[in-house]
Amino acid sequence: MPHDLPSHIAPEAIYFDGTSSRRHRVTLSFGERLLLQNLEGETLASWAFGDLRRADAPSGILRLSNVAAPPLARLEIRDPGLAAQLTALCTGLDDTGPARHSTARIVRWSVAAAASVLLIAVFGLPLIAERLAPLLPRSFEQRLGVVVEQQVKTLLGDRVCDDPAGQAALAKLVEAVRSAGGLDDHVAVVVLSSGIPNAVALPGGKVLLFSALLADANDPDEIAAVIAHEFGHVAHHDNMKVLIHNGSASFLIGLLFGDLSGSGALVFATKTLITSSYSREAEHDADTFSIEVMQKLGRSPKGLGELLFRLTGKQGGSALDIVASHPLTEDRRDRMRSLDAVPTGPPLLTAAEWQALKAICKRS
C-alpha cells in the first residue's frame, strides 16, 4: 500500500475509538488486559482479551472489535508476528461476528420451509378452496362474473345471438338440464357469436356458449351435455375454488422463491404443475356432473366426449400431459362412451327446435 507511513514512525497498531474517525497510532502491551497506548504513553483503552472479536479486513490485516467497547471501535494490526501473538491470547476471537452464520442450518431450514409450503400448496389449498368457495356471497361471484364477461366480450366479440325461436329452444334445453342437475334459477346460458368452439362458466352462474360449438354439434344431447358440464362447474363453485386455489398457490410459491411478482421460470413451472393438476380434477368432476345429469334425463352421456373429440382430435403424446389444464380428450371420450346406453327418456328437443337453436345467430 502506498500510504504506509515511513518505517521510523511506524506504529505497532492503529486504533479507531468508534466515536471519531481519528486514526490513533498505538503500541500494545500485553498484561492482564490489552493496553492501547498512544505515542505519548497515554492509555487510550484497556481491553479484556476475551472481549475481542475478529472483524472483516483485507488479507494481511488483523482487525479486531470489542464487544464491551463502542460497536465501531477497531484495532488494526498489520504486523504478522504481533497479530499471531494477539490471536493466541484471544479466546473468543471467532465466537460471534458476521462470518459465524451456520450454512448447514440455513440449508436445513430452507429445505424444511420449502417442503412445508409445497405440501400446503398440493394438499392444503384444495381443502381450503373446497370449504371456502361455497361460503362466498353470490353477489361477490356475480360481480366477478360481470368483469370476466366484459373481458371475454372485449376479446372475442360481443354479439349476443337472440333469434326468438332459437332462444325458445335454448330455454327449453337449459331448463331440462337445470332441473335435472338440481340447480336454482340463477343460472343462465347466453350464446355469443364467435368462431371459437368453446363454452365457459362465469362466476355467478352465467354460461357463455360460443356459436361455433353449436355449428359443430350433431344433436341436442351433445349441447345438453356441454351445458351440463358447465353447470357442473357452477354447482361446484369451481370459479371461486380455482380463484382461491390458484391465487394462494401463486402467492405461496412466489413467497417461497422470494419473487412476489411471480416471474421467473422456476416459479412459473411449479405454479403450472400445481394449478393444472387442480384444474384437471375440477374438469373431471364437471364431467361426472354432466354424466349424471344426462343419465337422469334418460339420454346417453357420450355426446360431450364425442363433440370434444371431434374438436380437438387425439391429444395424448403430443403435448405435456402433466401441465395440461384438462384431462386428455380421448380419456374423457372413452369414459363417457363406456357409459353409453339406449335412451330411455324423450328427446330433449324436437327436430324443428334443434334447427332453430342451430340458427340462433342468424340475424332476423
Partner: protein
C-alpha cells in the same frame, strides 16, 4: 495524519485501491450460487452479505479499508417485513382491479404505476441500508430523507424521461442523486452532489442519439437485417455510457470538504461487458450441447429407434424433463456467477482503482453520528425484483 493537518496549503490527495483476490471472490459466488440453488433461493441474503463484505473490506481509502457490518439475518428480516406489507397490498391490488374493471374493461392496467412507486421507494431505502452498514475508520455513513418523497420524485422524473424518449435521463439522474446525497452523511460530515445533468448530457448525448437511431431507423426503413448488424453495438454503447456515468457520479460526490475524482477511462467497462456476454453465450452453448447429449443418451437407453428421436417425443419424456430442469438451474447459477464476477467485482475494482480523494484532511477527525436503518428497502427490492446502487 494530524501532524499533516497543520499544513493545509497542500490539499491531501489520496487514491482508492481494491486489493481483493479474484479467486477468492469466484469461490465465494460459485459456492453461494450452488447454496442458493439448494436452499431454493433463501441463501441469497447471506450471499449478498458475503459479497458486500468482501468488496467493502478490500476497498482501501488512504490506507484504511472500509467495512460492511450488515448481516444476512437483517436482510431476511427486511424481506419478511416487505412480505408483511406487500401481501395485503397484492390482495388490495387484486380487489381494486376488480372494481376498476367493472367500471371500464382493462381499466386496472394503470395500477401497475403503484408498483413502480414502490420499487423506487425500495431503491432509496436499500441504499440507505447499505450506507448505514458502511464503516470507515470506525465511523459509519448514514442517511435521512423520506423514501416516499424520493419515490414520488423518481416517478415524476421517469414520466418526463419517457415522454422525451430518454432525453431527460441525465437530469433525472442528477436530480435524484442530489436528493440522495443531500440526505447522506459520514459521521458529522454532510454529503451533497455537485454533478450537473447538463454535464452528463454534453458528454453522452451522442450515445443516446445513436441508440435511438439504431432502434428506430431499421424499423422505419423496414430493414430488419440492419438491426442484426447494429445489435452487437448496443452493449458497447451501454458500457461507454456506464463508464461515463460512473466517472460523472463519483466526481460529483462531496462529504464536507472531501471530494472524489474519477479517472475511469471511457472504454474501461467495454471488456467487462463483452466478457460477460461471451461467457453467457458459452454457457448457453454448453447447455444446448448438454441437452443434445442427454437426448441421445435417453434415446439409446430406452432403446428407441428413429421413431423416438424426434423433439416431440423427447418433450414428453420425464427423464428428459428432469435433465432439462437440472441443466436450466445450473445455467442460472452460471449466469449469476458471470454477472457477479465481471459486472460486480471486476467493475468495482476498476472503479475503485481509478478514484482519487481530495481534501481528506477534513475527514481526519469526524465525530460519529447517525442511526442504523432497517433492511425494509432491501426486502422490497428483493420482492419487486429491482436493483439500485
Amino acid at each position: 495524519m494530524n501532524e499533516m493537518s497543520s499544513v493545509p496549503q497542500v490539499p491531501m490527495v489520496r487514491s482508492g485501491s481494491f486489493c481483493g483476490s479474484r479467486a477468492e471472490f469466484r469461490r465465494l459466488v460459485l459456492r453461494g450460487g450452488l447454496l442458493e440453488l439448494i436452499t431454493l433461493g433463501f441463501y441469497r441474503f447471506w450471499l449478498a452479505t458475503d459479497m458486500r463484505r468482501h468488496l467493502w473490506a478490500n476497498t482501501t481509502l488512504d490506507g484504511d479499508a472500509a467495512e460492511y457490518t450488515g448481516t444476512g439475518k437483517e436482510l431476511l428480516l427486511g424481506f419478511l417485513m416487505a412480505v408483511a406489507i406487500l401481501a395485503p397490498l397484492y390482495i388490495g391490488y387484486f380487489l381494486l382491479g376488480i372494481e376498476a374493471e367493472s367500471l371500464q374493461t382493462f381499466a386496472s392496467v394503470p395500477l401497475v404505476a403503484l408498483f413502480y412507486l414502490f420499487s423506487q421507494f425500495a431503491i432509496y431505502r436499500a441504499r440507505r441500508y447499505r450506507l448505514t452498514r458502511t464503516v470507515w475508520r470506525g465511523v459509519r455513513f448514514w442517511m435521512t430523507g423520506s423514501g416516499w418523497a424520493y419515490a414520488l420524485r423518481a416517478s415524476l422524473w421517469a414520466l418526463a424521461v419517457l415522454l422525451t424518449f430518454g432525453l431527460l435521463l441525465p437530469w433525472r439522474t442528477a436530480a435524484l442523486e442530489r436528493y440522495k446525497m443531500n440526505h447522506s452523511h459520514y459521521g458529522e460530515l454532510q454529503g451533497r452532489f455537485e454533478g450537473r445533468g447538463l454535464e452528463l448530457f454534453k458528454r453522452g448525448w451522442w450515445i443516446w442519439a445513436l441508440t435511438l437511431a439504431f432502434l428506430i431507423v431499421p424499423s422505419l426503413l423496414w430493414l430488419p437485417y440492419l438491426t442484426i448488424v447494429v445489435l452487437p453495438a448496443l452493449p458497447v454503447l451501454f458500457a461507454l455510457y456506464r463508464a461515463m456515468e460512473w466517472r460523472w457520479w463519483l466526481s460529483g460526490l462531496r462529504f464536507g470538504a472531501v471530494r472524489l475524482q474519477s479517472a475511469l477511462p471511457a472504454t474501461a467497462l467495454i471488456p467487462l461487458y463483452l466478457k460477460a456476454i461471451g461467457w453467457s453465450a458459452l454457457l448457453l452453448m454448453g447447455f444446448s450441447l448438454y441437452l443434445g447429449l442427454g437426448g441421445v443418451v435417453i434415446t439409446l437407453l430406452t432403446g428407441g429407434e428413429g421413431e423416438l428421436f424426434r423433439p416431440e417425443a423427447l418433450q414428453n419424456n420425464i427423464a428428459m424433463l428432469v435433465l432439462t430442469g437440472i441443466g436450466y438451474l445450473l445455467l442460472i447459477v452460471g449466469f449469476n456467477a458471470v454477472m457477479r464476477i465481471y459486472l460486480l467485482r471486476d467493475l468495482w475494482a476498476k472503479v475503485v482503482n481509478t478514484t482519487t480523494v481530495y481534501g481528506l484532511d477534513a475527514a481526519a477527525e469526524v465525530a460519529a453520528q447517525g442511526e442504523l436503518a432497517t433492511a425494509l428497502g432491501e426486502g422490497f427490492a428483493d420482492g419487486l425484483d429491482v436493483a439500485g446502487f
